[in-house]
């Protein structure tokens, strides 16, 4: 069952990457639905049966009954099923503020070299000229308070920018010490950024560094889809593709309706290597 898969799409790929980081030993705050939620749901079925995650509505350690109805990833009986504790939003934020959240996992619109997150406006804020989005939601609390934040975004030039147009949720702001100067707890911050094509960490300068890429892209392709040139790890790793088992669980038990995974390009194993399938 742990056979590497030969057909999967970009979303499935990134969900499996994050899912493999998830461990019973830690507490996670999972932002909304999408890839973050699907990653932990997958991990709970693969390797972390006692997984504990919390959501913004103060739900602690549920054994969610999937699939969910559209948008019903919180404050719904399937999402909150068999939790250890039910609270409310201030309770979730208190736990994070106290240092109980080891990892935060969140998807985002736009990220910059310091890991700052924009979910507010692309373009100019003043006068409402830019293209406006919904605001930080719970992501600000996760990004500020979790010990380590895992971001998920797309590998697109407009999503990977030198400086976000608006810091909705804090990365390292403008470098070492900046978070603390603005009252954020020390020792916290961005840890990984995942895209369907690559995985980034951070250097001592608090700036993004490519650490691994997917087997179906080249480093050049990744760099082309960024607005700035990041540091590159001395030894660049190749990310492992999803296994058949992961995909089966994801497709048949979690994202049954394809709400999350039915977007993104398909990858196939052909002629001894992984590459994008013809559309």
């Amino acid at each position: 069952m742990s056979t590497p898969a030969t057909d999967f799409n970009e979303r499935e790929f990134v969900i499996c990457q994050i899912s493999r980081l998830v461990d019973d030993k830690y507490i996670y705050w999972v932002g909304g639905g999408g890839e973050p939620m699907n990653s932990v749901l997958l991990a709970k079925r693969m390797s972390a049966p006692n997984l504990q995650y919390l959501t913004e509505d103060g739900c602690v350690g549920p054994e969610a009954r999937v699939p969910f109805d559209p948008l019903m990833t919180m404050i719904s009986s399937p999402a909150n099923y068999r939790a250890l504790q039910w609270g409310t939003m201030n309770y979730a934020a208190d736990l994070a503020q106290l240092g109980y959240v080891d990892y935060g996992i969140l998807a985002t619109l736009q990220v910059d070299r310091y890991g700052n997150v924009n979910s507010t406006v692309v373009g100019k804020y003043e006068g409402g000229e830019g293209r406006r989005f919904g605001g930080p939601g719970g992501a600000d609390s996760i990004a500020a308070l979790a010990w380590r934040t895992i971001l998920v975004t797309d590998q697109q030039k407009r999503k990977f920018v030198d400086r976000v147009d608006f810091i909705s949720s804090p990365g390292f702001l403008d470098g070492p010490g900046a978070r603390e100067r603005h009252g954020l707890p020390p020792g916290t911050g961005p840890w990984r950024v995942y895209t369907p094509w690559a995985m980034f960490g951070y250097g001592a300068d608090c700036q993004l560094m490519i650490q691994a890429i997917a087997p179906f892209v080249t480093l050049e392709q990744v760099l082309e889809e960024m607005s700035f040139k990041p540091a590159i790890a001395p030894k660049l790793e190749i990310l492992e593709v999803p296994t058949e088992e992961e995909l089966m669980i994801l497709r048949t038990q979690i994202d049954v309706a394809g709400q999350v995974t039915d977007r993104g390009r398909w990858i196939e194993f052909k002629d001894g290597k992984y590459s994008f399938a013809a559309p």
Binding site: E56, L71, G87, T88, G135, I167, E180, G183
Partner: protein, 323 residues
Amino acid sequence: MRILEEGKADYLKVDPDGYRASVRDNKPHQMVSKLMTHKEAVERFVRDGDYLAYDCNYFQRGPSSLIREIVRQRKKNLWLCGKFTYVACAILVEAGCADRIDIGFIGFGPWISRAVREKKCTIYEYSNAVITLRLKAGAMGIPFMPARSFGGTDGFQHSGCKIVEDPFTGKPVLLVPALNPDVSIIHVHQADEFGNARVFGTGIAHAECALASKRVIVSAEEIVSTDEFRRDPARTSIAHFTVDAVVHAPFGAYPGTVQGYYASDPMGVIEAMGAMFRGDFTEYLKKHVYSVQSHDEYLQKVVGTEKLAEIRRRETIREGYAS
């Protein structure tokens, strides 16, 4: 205790003393029956220009029927507490009811964007948790609350928050201003006629909303006896004296879910989300608000008993949602 940084935006005036006086003078300290219709509750307790908070949202145990009634009564110039929201703000702004929003998260859509550009709507920036923390401070009768998040963001600059030097540690710490809405609308599982109310399951800030708001309308799936509350006082989420109006609203969260009672209606959810993304609620409001006079009529004529039976049937999980 120096102020190190200050957001530059307007915020609802912080006035714990004024709020106390309002609690003393206007809250119904006595146990009196407050059962009334949607129409009467909104007529009496939602006023043009009010700061309005709703708990949860249009899809998740939110006061959807009260939001529709507010639209029906064409309230004006509301300032919205836009936390954890897909469409409620878009509905209220597009319907002409609201022109200011404190944002945690909302479905923005092209209509609100245009209203902002045309200066018909003003946005103030927070996060979901910063807003519920503001409500928590309002619910405790204090003027502000320290927080360890939100500093360093651009949202901070467009908020009413401050960063001060903590007089206990000497380190920078953020303060959020207390929020005491003029009116809150809260949908619950059960209430008695006096306003004692129970929410089962998780939530956003129902207890804080009730305690922090000058006027409170509770809509409830079920009206139960006060004896029922006395039998299990730990389950009481909201005490009667915080509540001004109790509205019996079965399926009050439709098209959203009420945990343990009924599932969401995915088609109804998608219909509203579609209108939000298109920036055009004209047809939606015509069908779901203006075509009927009341929530009862809405359920009968627009939603239909078959749909109601279906969403109740689809809610198969009951554990933890009854007392």
